[in-house]
Symmetry: C2
Subunit: 253 residues, 2 copies
């Protein structure tokens, strides 16, 4: 398969490298920042461009790995791809962002948090696919299977809910970790002490439903400990607010 990559950020970077490793032919790498395009193109042995008008029209698939806000704007500047197969990698944007610009479009959404420096475990990664027509869905499913084990067909509505759920379990969870670190730092306690607990919490729910794994003073209705904790958080109204809201909701389970 000949694949063009539009965007050389975290997602574009990891996807292009993985596709290349698995034997796909990366046609072009576009980035508005030519340095990023060159760095990625060198890895996947292809040409780097920073002008949309230089994109070739004979790729089998165009993957838009750019920010949600830029999707419509970039699509508008590529009328020559009207009849090509085009997908984006966003969890938050419906496939219909492409409706007025392309006839064959879909979504190629790897549900994972990407960091450029850290290797992505594609084998464990869930790839959420959607296409506006069956024939092309088979194509992107075929490409998806060549780089990932876990393929899911997910429509726009489902993907938007997955994205919200991901914000809870990833972004908000990371913020709770930040609070944990901050509480300890103020007393010069080593954050490393909490790391095994953080890992075990995530590992437990790989095999058990989280609702059954709930522990702590709230689910035990241990009002004495809750009261002590609220007193300890007295000087930090933000954390106290989260503590109270979470505790109330767990008490109501």
């Amino acid at each position: 398969m000949k694949i063009s990559i539009i965007g050389a950020g975290n997602v574009g970077w990891h996807l292009a490298n993985r596709l290349f490793e698995k034997g796909h032919d990366i046609d072009t790498v576009y980035s508005r920042n030519i340095k990023n395009a060159i760095a990625l193109a060198a890895r996947v042995r292809t040409k780097a461009i920073d002008k949309l008008e230089e994109i070739k029209t004979d790729s089998d698939l165009y993957i838009f790995a750019i920010s949600d806000n830029a999707l419509a704007e970039v699509a508008e500047q590529l009328p020559e791809l009207k009849n090509n197969l085009v997908v984006h990698t966003s969890g938050a944007t419906p496939s219909s962002v492409f409706k007025d610009h392309f006839s064959r479009y879909g979504v190629f959404y790897p549900l994972q948090t990407f960091t450029k420096e850290k290797k992505v475990d594609f084998d464990a990664l869930p790839l959420c696919l959607y296409c506006n027509n069956n024939a092309d869905f088979i194509t992107i499913k075929h490409i998806g299977k060549s780089i990932c084990h876990n393929i899911y067909e997910v429509d726009d509505k489902q993907r938007s809910l997955l994205h919200v759920a991901a914000v809870f379990v990833n972004n908000f969870t990371n913020y709770l970790y930040t609070i944990g670190e901050d509480i300890l730092q103020n007393e010069k306690i080593d954050f490393n002490i909490l790391k095994p607990l953080i890992l075990e919490t995530a590992q437990k729910i790989q095999a058990h439903p989280p609702a059954q794994m709930q522990t702590g003073p709230a689910i035990r209705r241990d009002s004495k400990t809750i009261q002590q904790h609220l007193e300890l958080l007295e000087d930090n109204p933000k954390y106290k607010e989260i503590y109270q809201m979470m505790t109330q909701q767990i008490l109501a389970l």
Copy 2:
């Protein structure tokens, strides 16, 4: 070392087994529920009792692995241990709960979430120790080192903060996982899709400070996506409330 275990719940169960495996002599297992005491005693080849007055007074260490609320009450019923070394395993209760009952006391707090069915990785587990006198601290540190790699000296104030922080990173995080599962269940989306993300979120901060790992619409100031998410949560005021509070706090970082 001869060690008596008071309490055969999750913590008592795992601690007794680990101490026994590492060659310690478990003197007695007490539980007010004799069945629990017998089950654990059989594993660690000792006697099970359910009457406090049957506890022998010649153990080198007594580990109280019972609920926070029961600590003072049980201590009061054991005047014969006045001059023995006694520790509890609680994160929430200060060591001073023993002050009026024993002359040599401390804390032996394994900072981990325990489930009876799941094997505990003692090698990775942080053990937080405290003692009201130096000689006995050396003893419990010696015992701690025989079962764990990561030993920390943590006083009552520090341990209370560790316990609050653990509630954020463990109990509240697990509740966020529950929310994620619930959001998906309503649309019949497989919760398995989120599991690799949950694991990666916890793994990332093993090597990087969580404050530097924050991603998502709030930290990107992506108000369009935040707005979409709030609309998706319209029918669930509880989750919406958490979304708004977390988002506001991340926006203020």
